[in-house]
Symmetry: D2
Subunit: 261 residues, 4 copies
């Protein structure tokens, strides 16, 4: 079992768009309680008592992402696809602020095009894709990374949507996995980023049309990503622009405006 | 003289906020034609016939950054400070789109807090600072980088505003310069990033209260940065999300919406 | 207290050259039991029951670095300076092999010029220096990194040897600390690297002429580095070149020589 | 045509092991003048008057890599496979010294296991492989990189040896290409590194059993790599460890030995 770093349980919130499950029978068959529930169970399966995991969905008030909820969340897991545009900009700004202040974020699959991921990356986050039951083979290129522990090299997902390069993201700080697809495509499928005091893991396997979140190795990687993304800093604090007088390295003053400098 | 890569002159646009120069006599004395003009001259001094450089300022219609102007600009240089908030969000979105499509961007000094830089970085871009005439010593930590050519190691700026860590940016793809200040602070003062098909160089020396853009080595670095930031791609094209059928690697289809996949 | 990841205590070996302590009274006064002992105590102070730490020195048979010792060592800490050349090439090759197979390595201060560090880096590992009691200020530029936890930003070492750029190392995978010195120099003072299945942390504070390993924050960083450098992989195995038949991703064959391919 | 940066022609030396061509008829048929000649012609085809290219082989005196030859070489291109062990350690040390002092190095295909590449990387440089006529598809993941210009995305090599992950190299400073193979493997096939004042490009396509160096896009990438790898620094100088007195940033003294510090 992957260990976590703090003594209290890690507070994890799995956010699911939860639309395909309601509108498409094949998705409901694969994920009768919603994809978010299956993902939460994967995390609990591997992290056990070390986590306290909840779920929230798009149709909850404020999408279930109130200030209060985010303030107590150590790691947020995000799955969205068909309804990215329905996510409120105010909520996205709130999540963004919490990530910069130290909340971990695990972005799954089509979450690459979520407002929050695009805002954190600063790029278009576009890619090439195809939904034709390609076999995906996931290769570890960073064998000492915590997120790569406990899965075979490679691991194989029998049926998957193809995601291919060029994936328009900033160069990942750590490239953990590269995937190939039956059709010959390659994809940087496991990537880490840090933004402000927050750690971000993007992991691409996981389409709604395939039972990917029931896959043993995918479940392990998602749990590893959650454990990795937690902050080690004791408090959640925004990065701030402050003035420091000479020889005082520790007591910054608030900024008073550009003209007064 | 630094060479550029294409046969036609590189089209450079130096954007200046141009407020301090109008409101503060000491700045007007240092930069009688505006900081943007001095910066443009530095670029021309080093790149000569290889560039065609213009300027634009905040008070121009659409801040001088119309679709037409951006479409013909190879590299945009940005200096702003007191009036970041006055820059129109629509213009920022337009510049952002052009950067992702291949326009180079050189962000100078207090431009770290410009809307366009913050949007491209995805972080707060905050830092620590002090305006007390610190000596800045600029050290090259990437001695083979094109941007570091032609300047001594280190070079010294006698009087400067202090910018110190923690500078809340994504880890730079290339860290070219680290600066120290009399007070003992350190700063990652020369950093490159790529976003989409655009190349970005951030260079921190350059406060309005000091004659920094008249400094020989600063001028060379700004010109080097412009030459480096130009795209080598033949056309400006947005990164796009497209579907590719199996065995057809080259003819993507437009996306038809998430539910139809 | 920093946690470690495995259930058994982490096996740490602190290797000290142990020459200055015998030849120079001022060093013996600072480190009466040798620098390696002080460093071991720093690790024990912070990691407690989670580690089992020993020491070895240059004058031990095989420098105390036999195959048997290395095979049971999770993390090796290295301090050397005056006698790098006396370290046997065979022992260096053995340590190198164990690092590639998964042994962690923490290289301290003048160990930058040790045979093992130079061999792992592939560069000259040269730098600029001066021993004139500079004040060193250590700035965290990677605030979420495990190695940076528990120390103030910045922390200050009142007297230190100056190490300055250009430091001829490969670009660090993670740059954790940047130091400045009274004289105005900058140095990448905390850097991580991975080589094979081994994790490497270089940390520059620590000259024999100053009481640096008695410094509270330096002790914490060394301990953090040890905890970070441990491998998470279950077994120590060399990276190997193997042939894999089509559709068999898991059973590699030994290489039979270049001409038979 | 790719431009180079200096006014005199770039001095390029293509080093070929030249053994397969003499011992195996199928290789001689593909490369009647040796692989090194075909590679040299590819470079000349794309860089034209901007280069002056020569060849050298293993059986030349000192392998054709004398001090005099290396001193006038801007970029060395390396292809070796069956006879890595026959390359003299003294010559490898000499090449290594020149790379650290600013000579560019382009390492091709099985050169991943050459003594010089292994020495520069510090790792085992092992990988997985298979010689069964896989199709290799080469994807650009760094679309603004000079080395990626002028080739389609992706480009396809109909028959190739498979090289797969885990490739035991340090994390590349820039990952330019990722390849996939018919069998489903992935490989980081185009990687840059800097060591000392030298720039290094590794490019994996190119087995002796296939006509890979006659492939249009492979030829362009090799030429791009040569143009990129040239140093921009005016002189070839070793990185050196020097002492600098306080307030004298420019006049270093030679090191006098560890005990005198």
């Amino acid at each position: 079992m992957t260990q976590t770093h703090s003594s209290r349980p890690l507070s994890v919130l799995v956010w699911g768009e939860n639309r395909h499950e309601q509108l498409e029978q094949n998705v409901a068959d694969l994920y009768p309680d919603g994809m978010h529930t299956t993902i939460r169970e994967a995390i609990e399966e591997h992290l056990g008592q070390a986590v306290s995991a909840e779920t929230a969905t798009l149709d909850d008030p404020e999408h279930g992402l109130t200030e209060e909820v985010l303030a107590r969340t150590d790691v947020l897991v995000w799955w969205g696809h068909a309804a990215h545009e329905e996510v409120s900009d105010d909520v996205v700004d709130r999540v963004h602020r919490h990530v910069l202040a130290g909340m971990g974020l695990v972005v799954l699959h089509s979450g690459h095009w979520s407002k929050i991921f695009v805002k954190l990356m600063g790029t278009s986050c576009t890619l090439r894709w195809r939904a034709e039951q390609d076999r995906e083979v996931v290769w570890t290129v960073n064998p000492t990374h915590p997120i790569a522990q406990g899965v075979p090299h490679p691991f194989i997902i029998p049926q998957q949507e193809m995601y291919g390069e060029y994936f328009d993201i900033p160069v990942p700080e750590e490239l953990v996995f590269i995937s190939t697809f039956s059709g010959g495509e390659a994809f940087r499928s496991g990537c880490t980023f840090r933004r402000g005091f927050g750690k971000i893991f993007f992991f691409s396997p996981g389409d709604q049309d395939y039972p990917v979140y029931h896959h043993k190795d995918v479940r392990r990687v998602v749990a590893n990503g959650v454990a990795w993304a937690q902050t080690l800093r004791p408090e959640r604090t925004d990065p701030q622009l402050l003035r420091y007088e000479t020889d005082d390295f520790y007591n910054g003053h608030d900024y008073q405006g550009a003209m007064e400098n």
